[in-house]
């Protein structure tokens, strides 16, 4: 078994650190990572508690396959109540931090309470300490991570930390590990900030046990080969996730100018070809590919900004290489803002990592601010003299930095689109569900995506379902509920293994079954994995219902429900949520009010939550 059967529990109020046995009964019902973290959360806190209060719990959860030789095994989940959504948040991250936590001998790290003064948690195998973090408070993620390594004289330490955005309660602040990987969404960084916890640093030499080396080697070899040979994997390796931008643009599903349009003229300037192109002065945006721990795909890109670009011209501290554009950052700083300046986009990406913010939520919030500005509702006096017009690259770079530092109009942008649009009396302009902003797919062109956005337990999210194939072959809402539901359950299972969902390009339930059974025992059948995925989806739903959310929150903004797509393959269509949602509730075994019915609870062994 790959579990250490050990949980590290830190009470920040009392400054106590304890270890306790992992609840193996729960591990058997919820698998690990996202699922197991959700179980610990609902059992450990009152779902109605304020997300930024000491009562909220912050859980770093590895999966049974985290830190193993299975490809993409670097992943962990941060599970907490999200301040952006007031719903359950589970933000998943790669890099090397999650595996290192496992190597230190812990399956889960649970933080509760609030430290009276800024601290960071230092984990070196059995030696765990809360150390003063005054010297890091008010500084960036990059400074914090690099300085902690220096102070402890160990470059192999892995750090997950927050920037000023997380300290100051930016609603979509994230937790960044390994400089440019992040538990990105729902504001989990601000939960960390509210606890006065600046960083978690880990060095692990315990490792992960292997029961039967020959059997493990056979499973790893088989699954690696499948992944290596798959077309989807090859595309991700060669072009990165940003290959999607050309596809979505051609399809007419690329949200542009705050979702007023569905295609963008400037994609040629920000797509993978543009990243790889050598510019007139010899500069090339893309440097190389970068993988997370144990990953065969390597979808990450390392890039640098042209030193002559206005954003960094006099700022040599940004002339180094760092994480480059992915599809979601390209979308959230590009089309949705009407901007096609690749260096401005790359710089904004740097700033998100340096200050610890979710690029999707920041970009879509700025998009709403730009629409409010162009409508004359937000005035130049409020925006620190920067015209927030669509297409203004300077507005992107300046506002990204102001939001990261919580200065000037950045404080308004830090509210997120929902709270900001409410403040200006135009709530319909927030492109969000449950307060969380959309990713780079328009719900009118991709109907199953729209249903997934509406029903995702953490607010609008593109990563909790996979209906691409059905959405790309048919533009109606018919028949989308079933693949949406099924893929939600499968992905809940994959997220709970400790592996990356991009492996689904090559692996289905049978492959995950082989790996999980090798790690946790042969009683993990395909049926049990699928049922576990469904149980996880329902326990998240139950948390949200207890937190006060209801079916009324499973909706989309009127722009997508009422205004037909202006062009593209879905021209003239609106999001057909009225068709899909009742069918979805019924398939889930939920009442028309979106509540799991008695049979569903019994079937999933969840009757205690009736």
């Amino acid at each position: 078994m790959t579990w250490h059967q050990k949980v590290l529990r830190v009470d920040l109020t009392a400054a106590t650190i304890k270890t306790e046995p992992l609840n193996m009964e729960w591990a058997d019902q919820y698998l690990g990572s996202r699922g197991l973290g959700s179980k610990y959360l609902i059992e450990g806190m009152d779902p109605t508690a304020d997300a930024m209060s000491p009562e909220n719990m912050l859980i770093f959860a590895t999966g049974p396959l985290t830190g193993t030789a299975c490809s993409t095994s670097g992943r962990y989940s941060v599970v907490t109540k999200g301040p952006l959504t007031n719903a359950i948040a589970c933000s998943n991250s790669g890099g090397k931090f999650g595996a290192e936590l496992k190597f230190a001998g812990y399956d889960l790290l649970i933080l509760q309470g609030k430290s009276p003064t800024p601290v960071y948690l230092m984990i070196q195998d059995d030696k765990v300490e809360l150390l003063p973090a005054e010297q890091y408070w008010g500084t960036t993620v990059w400074h914090t991570e690099e300085t902690i390594k220096e102070q402890h004289s160990d470059p192999q330490i892995k750090v997950a930390s927050i920037g000023v955005a997380g300290e100051q309660g930016v609603r979509y602040a994230c937790i960044v590990n390994d400089l440019h990987r992040a538990a990105g969404r729902s504001g989990v960084g601000s939960v960390m900030g509210s606890k006065n916890l600046k960083a978690i640093a880990v060095r692990g030499t315990v490792g992960v046990p292997v029961a039967d080396i020959a059997a493990t080697r056979a499973v790893v070899k088989h699954t690696h080969k499948l992944l290596e040979d798959s077309e989807g994997r090859k595309q991700l390796t060669e072009y990165g996730t940003n290959a999607m931008i050309d596809t979505m643009n051609a399809f007419g599903g690329l949200p542009t100018n705050n979702f007023q349009a569905v295609s963008f003229d400037g994609t040629d300037k920000i797509n993978p070809a543009a990243m790889a192109a050598i510019e007139a002065d010899g500069h090339q945006n893309l440097i190389n590919n970068k993988a997370c721990f144990a990953c065969t795909i390597g979808c990450g890109r390392i890039a640098h900004i042209n030193k002559n670009h206005f954003s960094v011209k006099d700022r040599p501290r940004y002339h180094h290489a760092s994480g480059g554009l992915e599809y979601e950052t390209a979308f959230a700083f590009g089309p949705v803002l009407g901007i096609d300046d690749i260096d401005a986009l790359t710089f904004a990406g740097y700033l998100m990592n340096e200050h610890g913010m979710d690029p999707i939520s920041f970009g879509v919030t700025l998009a709403a601010a730009m629409e409010l500005y162009e409508l004359g509702i937000i005035k130049l006096e409020e925006t620190d003299g920067i015209p927030l017009t669509f297409g203004n690259a300077e507005a992107l770079t300046v506002m990204a930095e102001k939001t990261g530092k919580h200065e000037g109009f950045g404080q308004i942008l830090g509210l997120g689109s929902k709270r900001m649009c409410d403040k200006y009396g135009r709530p319909e302009l927030a492109m969000a569900v449950k307060g969380q902003e959309f990713a780079g797919y328009d719900s009118r062109a991709l109907q199953g995506m729209g249903l997934g956005y509406a029903t995702s337990n953490r607010g609008a999210c593109h990563l909790k379902h996979d209906v691409f194939e059905e959405d790309m072959s048919d533009q109606s809402g018919k028949g989308k509920a079933e693949p949406c539901k099924t893929s939600q359950d499968t992905i809940a299972m994959i997220d709970s293994t400790g592996l990356c969902i991009f492996t689904a390009a090559a692996w289905g339930v049978p492959e995950f079954q082989q790996m999980v059974a090798d790690a946790c025992g042969d009683h993990w059948t395909e049926e049990k994995l699928i049922e576990t995925g469904e149980r996880i989806w329902n326990i998240e739903r139950i948390f949200n219902l207890r937190a006060g959310l209801s079916a009324a929150d499973d909706t989309l903004p009127p722009r997508l429900l009422e205004t037909p797509a202006p062009s593209g393959v879905a021209k003239g269509r609106v999001a057909e949520l009225d068709v899909m949602l009742p069918e979805y509730y019924s398939l889930r075994g939920w009442t028309p009010a979106g509540i799991p019915n008695a049979q569903t609870l019994a079937r999933l062994a969840l009757t205690e939550y009736a």
Binding site: L236, Y239, A243, F251, G252, N271, Y327, F468, S473, F502
Partner: protein
């Protein structure tokens, strides 16, 4: 007649610069363009003509008209 081509992702390899204008016969269909560009038949492909998605089974029967806009991209499922 003339049609305009815009290619993205891996398909851009077959269209220097990513976009071009092609002279094709009046009875040209989607297949004609795919062959003209030299895109292998086993290459994952998504074709959109103006605002219509063309399923692969209709490449040979979808006739083109003057000034049609063809987008040829990869059908990607992650991002």
């Amino acid at each position: 007649m003339q049609v305009t081509i815009k290619a993205g992702g891996a398909i851009a390899e077959y269209v220097p610069g990513g976009s071009t204008t092609l002279d094709v016969a009046n009875d040209a269909c989607v297949s004609t363009v795919i062959e003209l560009l030299g895109i292998p038949s086993d290459k994952p492909l998504m074709v959109i003509v103006n605002d219509d998605l063309i399923p692969a089974v209709k490449y040979a029967t979808t006739l083109l008209a003057q000034d049609d806009r063809l987008s040829l991209v990869q059908p990607i499922q992650a991002g």
